[in-house]
């Protein structure tokens, strides 16, 4: 078994939390209702299976010892159990019919398999559904024929639940001669056992293996959000130099849990359905990462025969573009009912490619710039704090640089794009103004700050990330701050999860929400400041603020605190938010796609009736602004950052809020 050759993966900690997860996701089928119809079907089937488990074993043993009764299920309890399971079998049977019909007639798109990946899985799926249906019929027939037989013989008969399948079958066969009934009984029994055991043996080879592995895949699932697995578990940063090969290059480089994931996937396609890369036609769909790996492992680790292994994955199983296409938005992991992990696998594959020097040319330049200048644009370090020094801004504001001479209790971590990009610098200035007006004692690191390294790490350049992180950590510690605030969700996630030993960090929306709840935030009415009263705002959840860190309500509460601000929700919001296209290094990568993620998102906003998109992430801002132009929607849609909206409406002592002329923010301007 390949799991024996896999890398280690410590998943045995926090047993109570893990058990809790099992209750919520396995027993409670927590993720399933996200797709209402299929989810309901599955919940019914799952409940049915659980209930029927004991009955199935009872039937088996009854074949050997006729009067066997499962311990604990004698008498009244047993009768109730039998009635309940009669209905369970009926429901499962009906679900099988519906599911098969769905597969054959309605063919939901997410089940489709592109031709290049082989034949579709529909035949396999319908076969399995048929088998389970057969199992239910056999079970029902067994009970029906036994009951009918006893009735005919005048013996006490088991009561069958009214309108259940066994009940209906009993009516159908009740008047048959005893001998036939006996044959039916034996026949049903045999069919039941054969089907049951066949399924047991067949399941590991297909999508139904999740029946067995789901408990384990959920128990051992990843507990923390937003983090990444280290290059190798058990190897600390200082010893990384001794690791011979970074990342995943061959199948055996995966950890055992990742391999388990490949076996567990039920091929339901929910991940790919929500994957923004897949939606825009990039070569990536998470589901196929798993199915291709599964095909590989079946081929190379056959039940009988020698394992042949060690072939490189990139180029044979996966394509390079497939792996670089991922924006790490996490939609796939959010959907998966089995809690299969994808981001760690993709990062590991990228680590492997980087180790081999296999990096797209478009990414080499920003990576090199990050190494020499600490930012992907190649701009000079000493100008990093210049955004806070424009003459207009300096008239009324002064931002402290924490360089040893100045101290503060809060650090505003600006990060690269807000520091250097002409447009994003206004987010920096807006945030600084907000912090000043809230009376926060804050400063910036200025030239001592380097890129947070968030995307550097997720693109697989672990050592460069470590260098950036160590530099920043030292600078942060030297500044003596007690807490960190940032307006950049990627920096937020990095400081929170990738960095160690730094003060607690918050996103500006969290700070604002808290101040709003405490009553410290006063706003002018929206209408006074806007030229156009028909502004409809839609908040776009940035992936690294929303999905990965579950900050959904704070930004909304802040917007709702502005009187008169009309806000709508897009269909895809909160944890179903659709990635704008990605941040950090993803801005430099040139994907093969049919359209841009940003364009898809802008159209979603228009569909929701909005004409202003509010984001809380500078990368979302870049992507959405670009997308508005590409989609030709200038004049009909605009985008603004949360900090800028607050800045525009915030009341401060001594007069109206100073705002910055934001050409992009005014509709029709």
């Amino acid at each position: 078994m390949p799991l024996l050759r896999a890398q280690r993966d410590p998943r045995f900690d926090q047993p109570f939390v893990r058990l809790g997860g099992v209750f919520k996701f396995w027993l409670g089928q927590w993720k399933h209702p996200r797709y209402k119809f299929a989810g309901t079907l599955h919940i019914l089937i799952f409940a049915g299976f659980i209930l029927l488990a004991l009955r199935a074993f009872t039937v088996l043993i009854v074949g050997v010892s006729q009067n066997f009764v499962m311990p604990g299920l004698s008498g009244r309890t047993g009768e109730i159990y039998d009635l309940v399971t009669d209905y369970a079998a009926t429901v499962v049977f009906l679900c099988m019919v519906v599911a098969a019909g769905r597969r054959l007639i309605f063919k939901p798109a997410r089940y489709a398999l592109p031709a290049k990946y082989g034949k579709g899985h529909t035949a396999d799926a319908v076969f399995l559904l048929g088998l389970i249906a057969l199992l239910m019929v056999a079970d029902s027939l067994f009970a029906a024929s036994r009951s009918a037989g006893h009735l005919q013989q005048g013996q006490p008969a088991e009561a069958l639940a009214a309108l259940s399948l066994p009940w209906m079958l009993q009516i159908a066969i009740g008047s048959m001669p005893l001998a036939t009934l006996r044959e039916l009984n034996v026949g049903a029994y045999l069919v039941h056992e054969i089907a049951f055991y066949f399924l047991l043996c067949y399941r590991p080879f297909g999508i139904q293996f999740h029946v067995e592995t789901s408990l384990f895949s959920i128990y051992f699932s990843k507990l923390e959000r937003g983090t990444l697995k280290p290059v190798r578990w058990g190897v600390s940063d200082e010893h990384l130099d001794q690791v011979k090969s970074f990342g995943v290059k061959t199948f055996e480089d995966f950890t055992w849990k990742h391999m388990l994931d490949f076996y567990s996937c039920a091929d339901c396609g929910r991940c790919a359905d929500n994957c923004p890369a897949n939606t825009v036609g990039r070569p990536l769909a998470p589901r196929f990462l798993t199915t291709k790996a599964r095909d590989y492992v079946f081929q190379h680790y056959p039940v009988s025969g020698k394992a042949n292994n060690g072939k490189p994955l990139i180029g044979n199983v996966y394509s390079e573009d497939e792996i670089w296409s991922c924006t790490t938005c996490g939609a796939c992991e959010e959907e998966c009912p089995l809690l299969v992990e994808y981001i760690d696998k993709i990062v590991d594959l990228r680590r492997g490619m980087i180790d081999d020097g296999n990096v797209p040319q478009s990414l080499q330049k920003p990576l090199k710039a990050l190494e020499s200048r600490g930012n992907p644009y190649g701009k000079i370090e000493k100008k990093r704090g210049d955004w806070a020094k424009t003459p207009e801004f300096l008239q009324d504001n002064k931002v402290k640089v924490l360089d040893g001479k100045n101290g503060a209790d809060t650090l505003y971590f600006v990060d690269s794009i807000t520091s250097y990009d002409d447009r994003m610098q206004s987010i920096g200035r807006a945030t600084a103004r907000i912090l000043t007006r809230l009376g926060k004692n804050f400063g910036i690191l200025g030239a001592a700050e380097r890129d947070s390294g968030h995307e550097v790490r997720r693109f697989g350049e672990e050592m460069l990330f470590t260098a950036l992180r160590d530099h920043n950590t030292e600078a942060i510690k030297a500044s003596g701050v007690q807490r960190i605030v940032t307006a950049d969700p990627h920096a937020f996630n990095a400081l929170k999860h990738d960095y160690k030993d730094v003060p607690p960090v918050e996103h500006i929306s969290q700070v604002l929400a808290r101040e709003a709840r405490a009553g410290n935030l006063r706003f002018n009415a929206a209408d006074n400041w806007l030229e156009n009263r028909d502004r409809v705002y839609a908040y776009h959840d940035p992936c690294y603020l929303g999905r990965h860190n579950q900050v959904y309500d704070d930004p909304r509460d802040v917007l709702d605190a502005i009187p008169g601000l009309h806000r709508v929700e897009m269909k895809r919001s909160r944890d179903r938010s659709f990635c704008c296209g990605g941040g950090g290094l993803m801005l430099f990568y040139e994907p093969k796609e049919e359209q841009r993620m940003g364009v898809v998102r802008v159209r979603m906003a228009a569909e929701a009736g909005a004409n202003v998109i509010v984001t809380a992430c500078p990368f979302c801002m870049v992507n959405v602004e670009d997308a508005i132009k590409v989609a030709g929607m200038e004049g009909k849609m605009s985008v603004i950052d949360l900090a800028e909206v607050v800045d525009q409406h915030m009341v401060c002592e001594g007069g109206p809020a100073q705002t910055e002329k934001l050409e992009a923010a005014t509709v029709g301007g």
Binding site: F588, E590, K629, V630
Partner: protein, 328 residues
């Protein structure tokens, strides 16, 4: 004063403006002297070239040899070393041939080499005073070269304006016999012509040209949109081709195509010399660049300091309005 020679490149017997530019450069070294033209080649093509060198030259040295029919720098160098008097000053056009020929030639002649020279400020004692550019044209440098044992000087095309009213060229002197046997350790095989591609930028009178400032492949569409509305074509500079955002057939420059449009919009192009070298005929040059210090603003007629990615969409909108074309 050492003798001044100008090596004249000819293609199929045709001599271009570079010959006159070399005369102008020679005059900057010594205004009193008419340089000697020196040409290599073979057969009737060489004869035609010799008679087409243009005015301003003194003698015309003809070096004919079958092996020199195609201008192979390795062989030309050997020939020149045998024919040129020691201590000569040799002027060569700084193009792909000059790059190939001159450094090695200077070693074999035991002379100093000055590459890609922009201006010559005369002689002081044994030193020739020159101006070169560095860092892609962002700074200039004053140099002095010791010409006591001669010099090979590569002259930047277009840097020296041809003079008018020069006396006609002198007589042709046949130096072929001094060549001797040439050893060909590099042999010319053939020339593969670049694919024509769908658009021939040399035939368009308006070009929307993009450079590194376009930043990503997707943004090329902005330029294409503008070109479509204006009835122009999109051309580009080298980095755009290196990044594979446009095919080689669209490249303007010394290693790309030479274009002669009426109007040239340089968008996000810094103005490196190799690119400008491909623009002939002094079109009206409008430059858009984020960097106010970009060298392109020195040669442009009109300049706008703005972010290309913001300006182009605006320009597209206005152009569509102007033409009455609906927005996409």
């Amino acid at each position: 004063m050492p003798r001044i020679f100008a090596y004249i490149v000819h293609r199929g017997g045709v001599v271009d403006d570079s010959a006159a530019e070399l005369v102008a450069a020679a005059k900057k070294i010594d205004a009193t002297v008419a340089p000697t033209a020196i040409l290599t080649g073979s057969g009737p093509e060489l004869e035609t070239a010799c008679s087409a060198v243009g005015s301003g030259f003194g003698e015309i040295w003809k070096v004919a040899n079958a092996a020199l029919a195609y201008p192979n720098a390795e062989l030309v160098r050997q020939a020149l070393v045998r024919v040129l008097p020691p201590g000569s000053i040799v002027l060569v056009n700084h193009d792909h041939f000059g790059i190939d020929l001159s450094p090695g030639l200077s070693i074999k002649l035991d002379s100093v080499f000055a590459s890609d020279v922009l201006a010559i400020d005369g002689i002081e004692g044994n030193s020739l005073k020159l101006v070169r550019q560095e860092f892609g044209g962002q700074v200039n440098a004053h140099l002095r070269c010791d010409i006591s044992s001669g010099a090979v000087i590569n002259v930047r095309p277009g840097a020296f304006k041809p003079q008018a009213n020069l006396p006609a060229a002198g007589a042709v002197v046949d130096k072929s016999s001094e060549v001797g046997t040439l050893v060909a350790r590099r042999r010319y095989l053939e020339t593969i012509v670049a694919e024509a591609g769908d658009v021939d930028i040399t035939k368009h009178s308006v070009l929307v040209s993009i450079g590194r400032g376009i930043q990503e492949k997707d943004n090329v569409a902005l330029a294409e949109e503008l070109a479509e509305v204006l009835g122009a074509a999109v051309s580009c500079s080298r980095p755009v081709v290196d990044a594979k955002w446009m095919p080689k057939s669209r490249q303007v420059g010394s290693s790309g195509k030479t274009v002669k449009p009426k109007v040239y919009l340089a968008c996000g192009i810094s103005g490196a010399f190799q690119h400008l070298a491909g623009i002939k005929g002094s079109p009206f040059l409008i430059a858009i660049n984020k960097n106010p210090k970009a060298p392109i603003f020195q040669v442009a007629d009109v300049g706008i300091v703005d972010d290309l990615l913001e300006f182009l969409p605006e320009l597209n909108n206005k152009a569509r309005e102007l033409r009455g074309v609906a927005a996409k």
